[in-house]
């Protein structure tokens, strides 16, 4: 059973992960598909895969029911484990790489309720920060905010480096969508968004398209898909808009690269929404 399929940055390689404990990488150029790697290392179903930005090389993260997060790297055409993180006490449900501006940083959400942030510090070292009890009885999804401050295209004086704040959104079994941000090296809960009446299955922070609005999509076991928007530069006022109510669980939301389409995967079929 395939649980996730993700294309790399260029859209030429496809990584899939499955209940059979494997992660597979396919070359999908020219409409064909060639299996280029079969990554084995997990001891349980693999839930999600995430490609790091290519500036760091070919790096893939995977998370599994076996409570592990494995970071794989291609070296001279061969894929190998680069790092294995075993700091969670339950299934790790979601992994997401931060914007490349922050270096190699991975957020992992687990059924143990915690979110881990793994930062590569060089020399094969990873720094681990853990937000315990981020979502009681489990975190289902994590998604990073784009590094660009909303509206920076309009307001930012040229040449001046924007003051990036690391932020991400998470969704969990406590029916909450939570926003986190890093302050003085510590992760803090920034916002708690309440609207869902059941598990939040997935969250997706929309890519920045230069408008001074932050947008987040969340979907839930309750069949509802919400679009959260924030026009406030301080990021404090979020308003929810119900995009649709499905009759069944909604598993997954995915924004298009330009942020104008949202793909919603429900229990029965897939629906794409143009926003």
């Amino acid at each position: 059973m395939v649980h996730d399929a993700q294309m790399d940055y260029y859209g030429t390689r496809l990584a899939t992960c499955s209940s059979d404990r494997t992660v597979k990488i396919f070359d999908v150029k020219n409409g064909g598909q060639i299996l280029v790697a079969d990554l084995r290392g997990h001891e349980g179903p693999v839930w999600q895969v995430a490609w790091a930005h290519p500036m760091f090389g070919n790096i893939l993260a995977s998370c599994s029911y076996d409570r592990k997060v494995i970071i794989w790297k291609e070296e001279n055409g061969a894929w190998d484990k680069m790092y294995e993180y075993c700091g969670h006490e339950s299934s790790v449900n979601s992994v997401c790489w931060g914007p490349y501006d922050f270096g190699l940083i991975l957020a992992c959400g687990s059924s143990d309720g915690a979110i881990s942030l793994l930062t590569f510090t060089g020399d094969q070292q990873w720094d681990v920060k853990k937000i315990s009890n981020a979502h009681t009885i489990g975190c289902n999804a994590v998604s990073w905010a784009p590094a660009v401050v909303p509206g920076s295209l309009i307001d930012q004086p040229s040449g001046q480096k924007p003051n990036y704040i690391k932020r991400f959104v998470s969704g969990g079994c406590d029916n909450l969508v939570k926003l986190w941000k890093e302050e003085d090296g510590q992760w803090k809960e920034d916002q708690k968004l309440e609207a869902h009446s059941d598990w939040v299955r997935d969250v997706g922070w929309a890519p920045s398209i230069g408008l001074p609005t932050s947008t987040i999509a969340s979907c839930s076991q309750d069949g509802r898909v919400f679009i959260w928007t924030c026009d406030d530069p301080a990021g404090n006022t979020w308003t929810a808009k119900l995009l649709h109510k499905f009759s069944d669980v909604v598993w997954h939301v995915s924004w298009s690269i330009t942020g104008n389409i949202l793909a919603v995967s429900g229990g029965d079929n897939k629906v794409a929404y143009t926003l």
Partner: protein, 1072 residues
Amino acid sequence: MRLKEIQRTAHQAWSPAEHHPIHLALGTSAQQLDASFNTTAALEIFEVDFSDPSLEMQLRGSLPTSNRLHSIVWVNFGMGADGTGGRLVGGSENGTLTVYNPEVIMSSGVDAVVGQSDKHTGPIRALDFNPFQSNLLASGANDSEIYIWDLNNFSSPMTPGAKSQVGPAEDISVVSWNRQVQHILASANPSGKAVVWDLRKNEPIIKISDHSNRMHCSGMLWHPDVATQLVLASEDDRLPVIQMWDLRFATSPLKVFENHTRGILSISWSQADSELLLSSAKDNRILCWNPNTGEVIYELPTTNQWCFDVQWCPRNPALLSAASFDGRITVYSVMGGSLKAQQQSTANKISSSFDSMDPFGTGQVLPPLQVPQPTVQDTIVPPLKKPPKWVRRPVGASFAFGGKLITFENPQLPPVQSPQPVPRQVFVSQVTTETEFLQRSRELQAALQSGSFNNYCQAKIHNAKSDAEKDIWKFLLVNFEDEARVKFLRLLGFSKDELEIKRSDVATAVCDARTSGSVSPADFFSQTPKENANFQIPVSCDTNGLISQALLVGNFEGAVDLCLNDGRYAEAILLSISGGEELLKKTQQKYLSNQKNSISMVSLISSVVTQNWRDIVQSCELDNWKEALAALLTYAHPEDFARLCDTLGGRLEHERTEKRCLQACLCYICSGNIEKLVECWALHRDCSSPLGLEDLVEKVMMLRKSIERLRNSEVAVQSPILAEKLTCYAGILAAEGSLATAMDCDKYLLCVCTILDRLFHAQEEAAVGQQPSNSFNRVNVSTAKPTPAAQAPAPKAQIVPMSIGGRSVFSPPGPSVSAANLSGPALPPPSSTPGVPPTSFMPSTSFPSGPMPPSSQPGAPVPMYPGGLHNQGPANPMASGPYVPLGSGYPQGGPGAPAVKPFSAPAVPDNYTPPAPITAPVMGFPVEAPQSHNHAQVPPGAPQEPSVQLLQQLPAERVEQKEIPAEHMVLKSTFDSLVQRCQLAAGDPQTKRKLDDAVKRLAYLYDKLREQSLSHNILNGLHEISRCVASQNYQRGLEVHTQVVSSSNFSEISAFMPILKVLMTIANKLGV
């Protein structure tokens, strides 16, 4: 993992799945007393709030009840749309069935009982509600009593069938509705018998009984997915098993699950995942089974107490509650986690609960209970061995670069697991939302590629929705035509021919007027020639006389003065012409300064005369922009033309109204100022929508093409705003899947963005061009020590090996990383522009020293493409060259000036003539050297060379084209000599014929070599073959031949490859 816990000796009921938030109802158990020996009874409702990390549950409502309960269920009957309410139904020890409204319990408690019946004669141990019709409730009690209650009509229950039909009267321990067929109900009794009732027939339809007779039925549940299967749990310590029965073979159990060591007290089947069946037993264990395999997949970490009731939470499938005989209700999660020092609080609570009470009524307070303090430690509780269904994501979709959508789905498993692996499916599809945008971008692309700009513009004019749009396209079109300036004039409403007609009309009118006696001073020029009849020289003392006298004495100056003073300007001018240049100028000035009153016409004349066009564009009324522009088109020096147009455009743009901005756009189109055009356009037109962007890009591309056509070179535009728009445009194209077009579009920019790199890599074909030179810096995060040579994958020229020392490198891009950039080959490889060092044209800002800001970072200067990205071969000598910055000397032709012939690359037409020096029609301007069209030969930055040189060089190039490139000459010589050798050695006519054929066919090869149309791969193969032939190793040559043939496009090689094989075979045979 334990999540919530409360001290209660009670039966429990979860709120229904639809209910939000999750509540747990607890009704005081019958036949159980806690340490208080309290016999009061209550129904309590707790909220299970998981955002509160503590073990406590919030009490939301409590209702004292007269009876203790044996059973309780929470039905979603009567539930509001908001997910609250429903009904609580309790079965008591004395046979009373009571229906409560939980909302009322939680609010006031008054009148919470909405129905009560004493129909049952004994304790009601069994309750279940119909999953399809929530108003239907089944209850079972002593003496084989089973009633079906309709909550809409509570007073009169029905029975599923006659009691007598199932044998001797017995207690009913369980009733259970089938999960698939709504009229099927099963009941079971402690003796181990189960009866299945069909409510439509009102009779039992099947009886199940284990032959061992040891089954002591404590639980019975239907399979959530399979209609004919049910499980029975045995409370008997001698047979502590769960049996699975299938009614299709109801003679013996299908499966028996054995693991408990003592009798099973309770079972619960997860409705969310039928592979999870819970059981609790007198061996103090709570197990979770996979009923499909009989395997125990989980054991809950529990206390040393019997748990008499376990229940999955209907809403949150990972939760279950367990009621134990030690008076505790505990909520667990099966997803594992860390069990923190929770015992601590529990102990305190037990202690305090005793403290506050006086259980024996002695009036003495008991001493605090000494509860041993468990050691505080974190225990990691693992999750279920097998992931439950609700965490196994079955479907998903994610977007990828290029508008691709990756979707996957897993076909529904049949309920009975099939041994075959499940076919999995991942799909990649293309998402396009902007069909019109794509269509238009394709049209644009087609026009750009085919060079049919005129047709494109004409179509645009034809389809233009507004006049303004039409005007703009007309102007753009004119740029592609000869005599652009004249046509611009015509577009502005000024036509030389028409003027001629009008003028002669006026002249005729004047003549007529003259003949009729009334003198019109209208037209000096048409008037003067008429006065060539015999005349009289006046010598009187009036002005006429004085002038005549002055003239007669040769005093031009005096005569002119006299004329001017008398207002006879024509005479003054005429005289001053004869009086010499100096006098003429003086006279002009005097005239003009005298005529201040009629500004516009005079200032026009003034400008014409003094060639001072700046005044016109700077001070004319904006309503007269057309006239001003027309004047520029007619008179302005090519060097100044663009600047003047821009000035005029700038003034128009400054007005900020839409109308003016469009007019300004026309000015910029005339001047060829792409940058200003973009800026001005963006002021008033929405460029954020794809179509708006397309509107702009179409115009920019056309203008750019027209400038290129005039200049005959690539045009690089340095405009941040254009860069931003094009990046945006490319982004949309990419998102819609038009990667190639997006790439093409971005070629015009040396983007300070990453999209180009992304496009490059995303392109399906490998060799689309050279790797974009600047994208993000690549950071080496190798696990091994960085070894630059080994780590740079071949195609990535841009990889910058660097080792990461500390975190600072990873913090937002800063100068610390920039050092790494120095080693990167930032410039396009020199081979792309042979002989032209590209650096000389690169603004230093082209290659920012730091890592790139995110693609959307604006404001940074965007250097333009030097064209280095274009694949450039000898076949296209015009493709690249010096890039003359825009804004000077465009366009080159004024009215009357010879038009610049359009260039058609690659071959230069034989009749090509260099553009003639450009002169303005009225005033003689210094002859300007035309810009060179021979960019390939001109060192960038060098002064433009005279066109003569161009003429000399171009034919040379054409001749050269007929030659096989030097590096391939060896092929010809080798193969030719091979043929000759064979011909000398060959004896039989058949071979000779073949060899003659070979000569012809090799000619095809040589043609291909001349055309340079062969792929790299084939060329390499040919060279290898020729080396083999030279060394007379034909065998090897044939092998190489086979390789080439097998790996190449047949149509490309079919003309000559077969003959090479024949040739080598012959040579091999002949041994030459």
